[in-house]
Structures are given as C-alpha cells and as structure tokens.
Amino acid sequence: MTFLVGIVLVVFLVLVILVISRVQSVVNLVKSKQPDEQNPHPGNNLNANIFLVVLILGFIGILWSYLHASNYFLPEASSVHGRRTDDLFWFSMGILTIAFVVVNFLIFYFSWKYRFKKGNVATFYPDNHKLEMVWTIIPAIVMATLVFTGWRAWADITSEAPQDAEVIEIVGKQFGWIARYAGVHDNKLGDYNYKFIDAQNELGLDLSDENSFDDFTNPSVMHIPANKPVLLRIRARDVLHSVFIPHMRVKMDAVPGMPTKFWFVADKTTEEMRAETGNPDFNYEITCTEICGSGHFGMKMQLVVEDEASYKKWCAEQKTFLQTYPEYVERVPANLKAKAMKFIPDYQAEEQVAVADTTSL
C-alpha cells in the first residue's frame, strides 16, 4: 500500500507541476492569443522540457516499480525445463531492456534537443543506405540468436516423453479439473468414451477395457512424484480449458475431441518449496488460463509433489473407480467380469445381501 500511495503521489506531483506550468497557456487559451512573430509556437519549449522530465522520472519510476514487483516475478521455478525457460526469459529481457532504454532515450532526448529554435533550419537528410543496412542487420542477428536458443528449448520441451514417465490424465470441465491415474496394478490408463459420461463416471471410463478396472480419479488434488518425468494427458469435457501450473512453467490447452499432452520433471517437493519460500502454507496450484465461462477464475486444483515412495504409497491408498461405484461392474462385458471382480471383492457380497433382502420380503 505504501508503494501505491508513493506512486500515486508522484503521479499527482507531476500532474500538479504540469497544470501549474500550463496556467499561462490556459490563460492564453481563454484570451485566444495568436502565435506572433516573436513566438510562433507558444509552449514549444515547455513541451520539449517535459520530454526531458518525463524521461528522467519515467526511468526512475520504472526502475523503482520493477524492484518493488520483482519478488513476485516468475514465481520460483520447480521444474527442470522451467529453469531453462526462465534463464532464457531473463536473457531476452536483458537484451530488450537495453533496446527499450536506448530507443526511448533517443526519442525523448532528440525531441528535447532538436526542439524548434527560431532561425534554425532542420538538416535535409532523406536517406543513408549504409545506416539502414546496419540497423536491418543488427536486429536480424539478435533475433537469430534469440530464435535459435528459444527453438532448441522448445524442441526439447515438446519432445516425446521418456518411456518411464508417470502418465496422469487431467480433464477440464466447467469448472474444475479431474485427475485420473492408471492404477497400481497395470499402470495403464483405460479407454474412455465421452458418451459414457454421467454423474458418477465423470470421465467416461470405458469399462469394457480391462485397463480401466484399477484406474482411480480425484477431483480436487493431484499427486506427482518428484524427480521423475510426468506426462500429463490432457483433455476437456465441454469447452476449451488450459492447464496452467505456474510454478512448473506448464501450460497446455485442453481441447474437447483432441487430447493434448505435456511432460515435465518436477524437482522440488511441496515440502521443499515450503522450506524454500518460508511459507508453511505453500501449495502448488493447477489453474485454467483459457476462458471457459463465468467460473473460469475459480477453476483450480491442488498439486502435491512428493518423493516417489510417498507418491506410490498415496496411489496404493486410493479407492479405484470401481471400488467407489461398484454398480458399474454391470458395464463390464461377461468375459472380463471375473477380472473386474478381483478389484471389488466386497461387491458380490453386497449384491447377495441385496438379493437376500428382496427374497425376505
């Protein structure tokens, strides 16, 4: 808040100076004073001087506000590729800042320096091919460097995920994310079909595929192992969404009808980040960055990064989809029923109880 007040103060100070300095002109305006021989362009010097003032105050203001906000810039990267793109970002930003400062300095400084002076004549200087070649080629070389480094990073980030990557599905819907895990038995995600979606089977699991028997889902939190490639298989149920994990530098749209993917290696567990940021309540977040309706801003999921052992343990503790909703065993084709039953040993009993109940009536 102090920052805010400070900046606002500076702004109003500048404005006050401006207004005071303009009083004369305002008076002139009312009198509708015409430019005369002595002073053909009233107010010209004043405007030239304001360029100089704005140049100096502007740089101070930008530097100050930059330092103020820099705490929050690119929140601590927690993925391997994230640190690489961060470095690239600051490298590009450094070059661009130089260009920004030089170019704006020249614009403001020339405006001030070459302001109208009586008796002065501007220099007739229509072109200079050498000069133009120079400032065509220099940006071209700088661009080529930036493009090349960026392209290499992009190619690596978007390459095929390693074979041993942990595959997790994340599905966007209005307004939330649902994660699905391949399960601890076969470690394979089962098929899905959007026509099978209903209130319980939110992801449209296809139970005629035996891989889906041990799949489990979670609508509020995603666990991933640290230091191991994680491949997100991304899809959307209704409209476009976009998976955004700010600390992991992960972003990929979720598109209905067109599954997408993104793989990364998280190398700081939630606990490590809590220690590093000194914030005991720190949590990784997954949010949405593609407008998806009125609840867009509230669409989030917690991400827990932990070491592989605790991740495995957590997975083993989760109830599979069939365990949560045993009645879906009806969807399993007859030849696979026995296999499906292994995942829900209690279900048969319940069914028999139900039968017993009806007969007792």
Partner: protein
C-alpha cells in the same frame, strides 16, 4: 461560408452539374468521402467512449475485488447483485465487448475508416473515391453492425461473453455460458455486416489509389499515409473473408447442427451428438484474420505518424523507400505468423517452431521503422503540435510494445506467459495505445482540413501528456503482473494463492486507467467545442507539402476548385538546402525552384510538360 463559396466555384466550372444536395444526402446518406470520413470518426469516438468506459468498470473489479457497484445499478440493473457485486458472467461480457469494440469498431473503422476515406482522395489528388455509392454503403453497413452490437448489450442473457476471440465450443453452445445465447447470435450478425463494410471500403480504397492519382502522382510520390492505407486495405481484403467463413461455420454449428468446431462434448448432463469437428480449426481461421487485423490497426497509425513527424520535424522522412519496403514486409509477414497465438493449443510443436521463426522476422522491418522515425527527429526543428506529440508518443509505444512481442513470439517463453497479463500489456501497448495515438495524431493534424477550425493547442498538449503518462502507468505495471503469472480474464485474483499477491499493483493500474480515461474528456471537449467555436484555420497551418493543403480551407464536393493540381515532386521536401521556404509543396515544379534542386531533379524539369499534358482521372471533367 467558404464551403458554399467553393461549391459555387465548382458549380460554374462544371457547367451546372452540381446542385446543393438535400440535407439527407449531404449529411446522412452522403457519398462525399469527407463526410463519410467524419461519420466514421464520430461513430468511432462514440464507440471508444463506450469501450473504454467498459474497461474502467472491469478494471475496478480487478483492482478492488468485491468493490461496491451499487452506483452502477441504474445502468446495469440485474448485472449488479443486491450486495453490489458485479456478476462474473457480466464481467466476461464486458471484457469481450471491450475487445470487440476497441479492435473492430474503434481502431479499424474509426482509424482506417476515417483517414483512408478522408485522406486518400485529398492526398492523391482525386475528386472523390472511385465509387461514392459503395463508400456510402460501407459506412451504413458499419452503422448497422454498430446498432446490432449496441442492441446486444441489452438482451436478457447479456452480450457475447467468450472473449473477443469467441473460441468455440464456448461460443457455440448456449448452454456453456449465458452470453453464448442471443448475445452471441447478435455478435455474429454484427460482425458479418462489419466484414461486408470493410470489404466495400477496402475495394474502394485500393481502386482509388491505383486508378485516380492525379497527373504526376507516381507511386514513389505518394505520401506514406497513402502507402499505409493501401497495404491496410489489401490486408483487410484478403483476411476479412476468412473471418467471414469462420463466422459462417460457427453460425452453422450454432443453428444448423453441423460439427465444424464441435466434437465429443458432454455438457449439462448431456452428451452432444457432434463428432469429428475441431475447435482448433476455428482458431486457425480466426487468427488468419486476427493477426493481419493487428496490422490493419497499426499500419494506418504508422502512416499517419510518418506524415506528421516529417512535417513537424521540418525534415524529410528518413528512408522513404525503406519505410515502404518495411511496411510491405510487415504486410506480407502478417499473413504467415498467425499460429503464434496458438503455441500451446496442442498444435504440432514443429508447426510452432516454424511460426516462431516467421514471427521473429517481423521484428526486423519493425525495427527499421523505429530507427527511421528516430533519425527523422534527429537534427530536426521540432514543433510540438498536439499531432506531433501524439506521433512521437506513438513511436515510443510502438517500440516499447513491440519489444515484449519478441518474448511472446518465442514459443518456449510463451508457454509461461501465454494468456497472462503480459500478453494483455503487450498488445495494448503495441496495437491498442500505439494505434490510438496514431488516431489522435491524425485527428489533431487534419482537424483544420476537416472542419476549417483549429483545435486548441494547449488543451491538446495537456491531453497528450496525461494520456501518454497514463498509458505507461497502466501498462508497465501490467507487464509485472503478467510476469508474476496472473492469467487474463479472471474475475478476481483472490481465489488462487499465487495470484493473491500484488494487489497494490492491480489497484494502481486501475487508478491509472481511470485517470487516463478522465483525461480523454479534455479531448472530447476540445474536439466538439472546436468544431463550432474553434479558431478559424488558415490554408496550410502546419506548413505541409501534401496535396490536401492546396484545397480551399473547407473543400467542397470535388475537393479542388477548377482543375486538380499536378504533382511534380515527392511530399517530403522539407528544409531543402537553398530553398526560400522550409517546405516545398508537391505542386511546385522543379523549374520554379532552381535554387534548391538536386542534380537529378534538374533532369526532371523536362518531364513537367509531359505531366501537364496528362489529364486523366478527373471525374468532373469526364462528364463531357
């Protein structure tokens, strides 16, 4: 008075072809390019007030989450709930309408519509556009589009709310968002009319520039404004039909059960039958217009800036040919970079690499333009008219905003920054503010020719400084918010931990935005007051070389009394060594200025007879 006077003169010189037009043909269904330009300008200004006011409302929500909006209840009614909170759906509708209005209605129609119409005939030496009737249709299609878009603000379910890019399926399914119902239907109808308007206008601009140039006005003697309007019109003519088809397919998906953009959707407890479509297809089609569109917005601003900077630096524009070539380069590249808006849509990464290479090439011609402007200022004798101030501001904003584009065009860096406030800040500076500055620059510079009056210099200068400082105060901090990862189109930032910071920064941006908005009323007052009560303009108040200043102070229908002047030189002979005056208008032959001619220009003296002997393209003469 002078208007009537000039009418009379033309009347005589044309042997009675022109009678005083009735009110409705002179001011309403006008076919005169100058009147149409003014219609575009005033409509654009009205839209700008609405569009920017919308942004102030949603900025208050972002800067001060949970702010009390009860004071807006008389206007917004149900969209403010009983506790005074802004409805999140309406927040998105405001964001959407702000984008649509500003990009299409203000910066396309208001900027290019105004100045292409006003300046093309005046600066190339033509009586009017090639087809005055088509030109009139162009405005009235735009007007119809405006009326429908305005009406959509008041439908029960609210205006379109899927973002100005209206990505399906959100925009295709009324059950996905209230704004995707009637509001979206009206949006699409309005845009279809708007596209028709742009095509009618664009064909006219291109035809006029190619066919109706006056004697001696070769392409290399065209002012850079005209070059920029030519490229703009070509861009629009090629890209707007693609948006038309994108909209048409969306209309079919919405109303006729097709599946161009829809596939495997389960929504509101129902699995839709559509399969096989692709939402990505829409994005490709949309951005095939959407990207050239940003150049449609910025090129006229660059053209206006070139003209105004040269005139008020009292120097020729540096590198006239390089300026044309770089505009041509930008125009060509504009068509092959669209997918840089789609790096993280799941598009093939290889395609992403290709588009990254192509995108970053655009930086080169843009840099050339930037440097050429700066060199034009160098050793000038700069007069800070409000038009000049806005032109200088435009260059500063164009460079500043362009630089962050280099970050976003890099696909690896775009992963983190895509759809964050960094993007919002980037394009607002480079195409929003920069183009708006071009618009202001043009209005201040050509106001005397439009209305025969002068706008107040001091008020214009005050308006400039408040706007210029205001724009930087809004958008520099907005970059910071973006680097911190704040996603755009969020109703509030308090729901996530990582965005529940920097609230002072967001509040500050909002305050700066309000300040900048308020400063625009100085302009509005200056503009409307000066139309009626402004100081009388002189014939050539800025000492400019181009043809429009050789017309009567308020040109009548047909622009010139008597014959259209011939042109003998390029438009940038400012401060020529040896010349008597610091400007030599295009109509002055080299034979009249032996003291300042360069050696190769003396060669051209013998061509003067040839130029004078030509007499084509005067529509007024052809009646006989």
């Amino acid at each position: 008075m002078s208007a009537i006077h000039s009418e009379n003169v033309i009347h005589e010189s044309d042997h009675g072809h022109h009678e005083e037009l009735p009110f409705w043909r002179k001011y309403i269904f006008a076919e005169d390019h100058k009147m149409i330009a003014k219609q575009y300008l005033i409509t654009g200004i009205l839209w700008a007030v609405i569009g920017i006011a919308m942004s102030v409302i949603f900025r208050i929500q972002i800067g001060f989450p949970g702010a009390d909006f009860t004071w807006l209840k008389p206007i917004l009614g149900e969209w403010i709930d009983n506790t005074g909170k802004l409805n999140p759906e309406f927040f998105l509708a405001l964001v959407t309408m702000h984008g649509t209005i500003m990009v299409f209605f203000v910066l396309t129609a208001g900027l290019s519509g105004t100045f292409s119409n006003f300046l093309i005939p005046l600066q190339i030496g033509a009586r009017d556009m090639a087809s005055g009737f088509m030109n009139m249709l162009s405005y009235w299609f735009f007007f119809a589009a405006s009326v429908i878009m305005f009406f959509s603000l008041f439908v029960q379910t609210g205006p379109a709310s899927g973002g100005w890019v209206i990505y399906p399926p959100l925009s295709a399914l009324p059950q996905a968002a209230p704004g995707s119902g009637d509001g979206m239907t009206l949006w699409l109808i309005s845009m279809v009319l708007f596209i028709i308007s742009q095509l009618l206008g664009g064909i006219n601009y291109i035809t006029t520039i190619i066919n109706l140039r006056t004697r001696g006005m070769s392409f290399t003697r065209l002012p850079l404004t005209i070059w920029s309007f030519l490229f703009t019109a070509i861009l629009g003519l090629i890209s707007f039909p693609v948006l038309f088809s994108a909209a048409l397919l969306l209309i079919m998906d919405r109303s006729f059960g097709t599946s161009f953009y829809l596939s495997e959707i389960y929504i509101n407890g129902e699995a839709l039958p559509n399969v096989g479509g692709s939402p990505i297809l829409f994005q490709h089609l949309f951005w095939f217009l959407g990207h050239p569109e940003v150049y449609i917005v910025i090129l006229p601003a660059l053209g206006i800036t070139s003209e105004v900077i040269a005139t008020n630096s009292r120097k020729p524009i540096f590198g006239y040919r390089a300026m044309i070539v770089s505009m041509l380069g930008i125009a060509v590249l504009a068509f092959i970079v669209w997918a840089h808006h789609m790096f993280v849509t799941g598009m093939n990464p290889f395609l992403g690499s290709v588009f990254m290479f192509l995108t970053l090439i655009i930086a080169v011609p843009s840099a050339v333009k930037g440097f050429n402007y700066i060199t034009t200022l160098w050793k000038g004798n700069i007069i800070f008219t409000p038009g000049m101030l806005f032109a200088i501001g435009m260059v500063s904003l164009f460079v500043t905003g362009g630089l962050t584009g280099i970050i976003l065009g890099n696909s690896a860096l775009d992963i983190q920054l895509h759809d964050t406030y960094f993007v919002v800040a980037h394009f607002h500076v480079v195409m929003g503010a920069a183009a708006a500055f071009g618009l202001f620059s043009g209005v201040y510079h050509w106001f005397p020719k439009m209305y025969g009056k002068m706008m107040s210099n001091s008020m214009g200068q005050l308006h400039f400084w408040l706007t210029f400082i205001g724009v930087y105060l809004v958008f520099i901090p907005m970059h910071y918010v973006g680097i911190a990862g704040f996603p755009r189109r969020y109703y509030q930032f308090t729901s996530n931990d990582f965005t529940n910071v920097l609230s002072d920064m967001n509040a500050f941006i909002t305050l700066a935005a309000i300040l900048t908005f308020v400063a625009q009323f100085i302009f509005l007052f200056n503009f409307f007051y000066s139309i009626f009560k402004g100081r009388k303009a002189t014939n050539n108040p800025w000492g400019s070389n181009t043809l429009e200043w050789t017309t009567p102070i308020v040109p009548g229908h047909g622009n010139w009394e008597g014959k259209i002047p011939a042109v003998y030189r390029w438009p940038y002979d400012y401060s020529k060594p040896g010349a008597k005056s610091d400007f030599i208008p295009q109509t002055v032959p080299y034979s009249a200025t032996p003291e300042s001619n360069l050696p190769h220009e003396n060669e051209e003296i013998k061509l003067e007879k040839v130029i004078e002997a030509q007499n084509f393209n005067d529509q007024f003469d052809q009646h006989h």
